[in-house]
């Protein structure tokens, strides 16, 4: 472990994983696999719990704001664990001088998104800190839900087998590009909108098919590449994806080419990777595509029997390359 925490420890890549394992899990006595939600058995009922803190600059961006994000993110962490999200709590750390009208906008969009997702925000906390002690507003949401029958394995990947198909519910990278655009870092305007959305209805639709689902995880900070690497590490199996099957919207693709970004590492807030046996693939795809947040779903790859725990991308040129975890944040090319 390094002597000091740097921003890279929070980037969602390898260093974040190291921090979780070596700092927190060992001291809290948590065991692998680390999933998006913890599952606890309470009076014979399997419950899922999760928590997440939201800090984002800027707090308003095309397609959402920090409040909407705080609801969607936690709802999604519950849903991908195979749970029906039910209750959220919300804690606010607010910087003194924060405009009340902005707070109204944020809280109203939280209420709206909770309504959309069918969850109730039932408790909360507020702290106001001196100017400069936090950046405008930080929100932490904690969620609880009930695990659907026979679904507690979904977050753990224990049922994943060679030959399983990998599905993604739509194009990747939009959230990152939308936020960069809102930060005015792109030096030109883009019309890319964040994909920020609650996925519990889409996931319910999939689980309602009664098809076997072997794994689900939502793609967030580290992008698709990180989730694929986590899956490979959790299962000890190889993962192979086809570059030209991974959906990327044209404006995102164009910006990536220009800036030198790889869309597979860009953040998402409304995307989920779903792993299913090959024979269930068509049925699951049909269910996903019937939901608005899954219209552009694609089958992007396969679990291989390969024991070398690597993520391999079949490139457009017919070659292959390793898709590694990313170290640190992605930066634009300067050459």
């Amino acid at each position: 472990m390094d002597e000091f925490i740097t921003l890279n420890h929070g980037s969602g890549g390898r260093l974040t994983g190291e921090l979780i394992r070596e700092m927190f899990a060992t001291r809290f006595g948590m065991n692998e696999p680390f999933t998006d939600s913890a599952i606890a058995n309470i009076k014979g009922r399997e419950m899922a719990f999760t928590t997440d803190s939201y800090v984002i600059e800027p707090i308003f961006f095309p397609g959402g704001n920090i409040g909407k994000l705080a609801v969607c993110g936690t709802v999604n962490d519950l849903a991908v664990a195979g749970a029906i999200p039910l209750y959220l709590t919300a804690s606010f750390i607010i910087e003194e001088g924060f405009p009340v009208k902005d707070l109204i906008t944020i809280v109203e969009s939280m209420a709206q998104e909770a309504k959309n997702a069918g969850v109730k925000i039932v408790a909360g906390d507020t702290k106001v800190v001196e100017k400069g002690k936090c950046d405008k507003i930080f929100i932490t949401t904690t969620g609880a839900g009930v695990i659907r029958d026979g679904c507690s394995h979904i977050g753990t990947a224990v049922k994943v087998k060679p030959g399983d198909r990998l599905i993604i519910n739509g194009p990747v990278g939009n959230h990152s590009i939308a936020v960069m655009g809102a930060r005015k870092q792109l030096s030109f305007t883009s019309q890319v909108v964040s994909d920020c959305a609650s996925l519990n209805h889409l996931i319910n639709r999939v689980l309602d098919t009664r098809c076997e689902v072997h794994f689900m995880r939502d793609l967030t900070r580290g992008g698709l590449a990180t989730v694929l690497n986590e899956l490979s590490a959790m299962t000890g199996m190889g993962v192979e994806v086809e570059e030209d099957k991974i959906p990327v919207d044209e404006p995102v693709k164009g910006l990536c080419e220009m800036m030198g970004f790889d869309p597979l590492y860009l953040a998402n807030e409304g995307k989920v990777l779903i792993v299913v046996p090959p024979e269930e693939c068509d049925k699951v795809m049909a269910a996903i595509r019937s939901e608005p947040s899954g219209e552009k779903a694609e089958v992007i790859g396969i679990i291989t029997g390969n024991k070398n725990k690597m993520v391999i991308v079949k490139t457009l040129t017919g070659g292959t390359r390793i898709l590694d975890m990313h170290s640190g944040i992605q930066l634009p090319r300067i050459c």
């Binding site: 030198g260 590694d324 930066l331 050459c335």
Partner: protein, 363 residues
């Protein structure tokens, strides 16, 4: 997508692969001197498409990598001064200096901010009255016009708290240094984005004076394969020229407006390169007319040299000279990884070690 898909067309790539195998009757070593090319070559797996007698070698083309330890140390020294905000292109903050890095200094409280452009740094200066904002200007002819534009804008708008520590470099003198260093190559894959600014004319002396092929290449697989084929043909015909493969972006004359802005702000001066040492007339120093924005002139910096320290096992310098490959380094992938980089070539996404680690690992 237009201008992308057709340059990734698998049938074209296969056809080029076949032609290269047929034309490559001797042994060829070509050097790319652009970090963007290094990243693209490995990302698209170009080496696996070439026959064993055609070798691609990375040169000093990664802006972060060629920035010497002394520049990092000086910036760290500036970061410790009162009311200073350091702004930098992101990768640079992770490059180890003699004893620390900007990333570590930032964790200790130094105000170090990542920017995407010099103009973004200028905006920080505008919004941070009472602070001195220093932009660490690195990169070649690709980024230098942006820095120059920001300096001109600062002067025009009276933003007096904006300064640049210029470590900008130009590419042709480094290519000449590589040749004079005796590195055995048959030609250069010349930089694409640099050439959009300079035009092809800046490289002509290399083919004329040194009998080496020069082809300015684009960044897609078809571009790179085509450039390799053009270089092979030049070698086979003993006719060395500076050719433009990347004709959809590069002209002979280049971007005259950008050249004018650079001339307005910068003068050529000797400059230190990691691995290559000091090269005459290879750096861009800020002109006296803009000295009020020149961090070298405005801030007092202690003399350097004595405490300069680089890990002696790190082969970054040799890799940048084309003398060694990343996998020749015993630190590679063991002690030195992108998470824990020892040398600059592992830090930057445009560095040869980083590209090898990311896409190939086993060489």
């Amino acid at each position: 997508m237009k201008y992308i898909d057709e340059y990734r067309d698998i049938r074209l790539i296969r056809a080029l692969e076949k032609t290269i195998r047929r034309e490559a009757i001797g042994s060829y070593i070509f050097m790319e001197v652009c970090g963007g090319h290094t990243a693209a070559i490995h990302r698209f797996g170009i080496p696996s498409l070439l026959p064993p007698n055609v070798t691609l070698l990375s040169g000093p083309g990664c802006p972060v990598c060629v920035t010497p330890v002394s520049t990092i140390d000086r910036t760290i020294e500036l970061a410790s001064q009162k009311d200073v905000i350091i702004t930098s292109f992101g990768d640079l903050i992770r490059v180890p200096g003699s004893v620390s890095s900007l990333e570590k200094e930032k964790a200790h409280g130094a105000d170090v901010r990542i920017v995407f452009s010099a103009l973004e740094a200028l905006e920080i200066a505008r919004a941070s009255k009472g602070k001195k904002v220093i932009f660490l200007g690195i990169g070649f002819e690709t980024t230098a016009p942006g820095t120059a534009a920001a300096i001109i804008k600062a002067k025009e708008s009276g933003i007096r708290n904006f300064f640049v520590l210029s470590a900008h470099k130009i590419m042709p003198p480094a290519m000449e240094a590589i040749i004079c260093d005796g590195t055995e190559i048959n030609g250069f894959i010349c930089p694409g984005h640099v050439s959009t600014i300079t035009g092809s004319k800046g490289f002509r002396f290399i083919s004329e004076k040194y009998n080496l092929g020069c082809v300015i290449s684009g960044f897609e697989p078809v571009d790179i394969m085509m450039s390799v084929l053009m270089l092979i043909k030049q070698v086979n015909n003993h006719k060395f020229l500076t050719e433009i493969q990347y004709s959809r972006a590069v002209t002979v004359e280049g971007n005259l407006k950008a050249q004018k802005i650079m001339d307005e702000v910068f003068t050529l001066a000797s400059n230190e390169w990691r691995g290559l040492g000091t090269i005459e007339r290879s750096g861009l120093k800020i002109n006296d007319k803009y000295s009020a924005h020149d961090a070298e002139k405005v801030f007092s910096l202690k003399g350097l040299s004595e405490n300069l320290r680089e890990n002696t096992s790190c082969l970054c310098g040799e890799v940048l000279r084309g003398r060694k490959r990343p996998t020749d380094c015993r630190l590679f992938a063991g002690v030195c990884t992108p998470d824990n980089p020892v040398g600059a070539c592992m830090v930057s996404a445009e560095g040869a070690c980083n590209a090898f680690y990311k896409y190939r690992r086993n060489g």
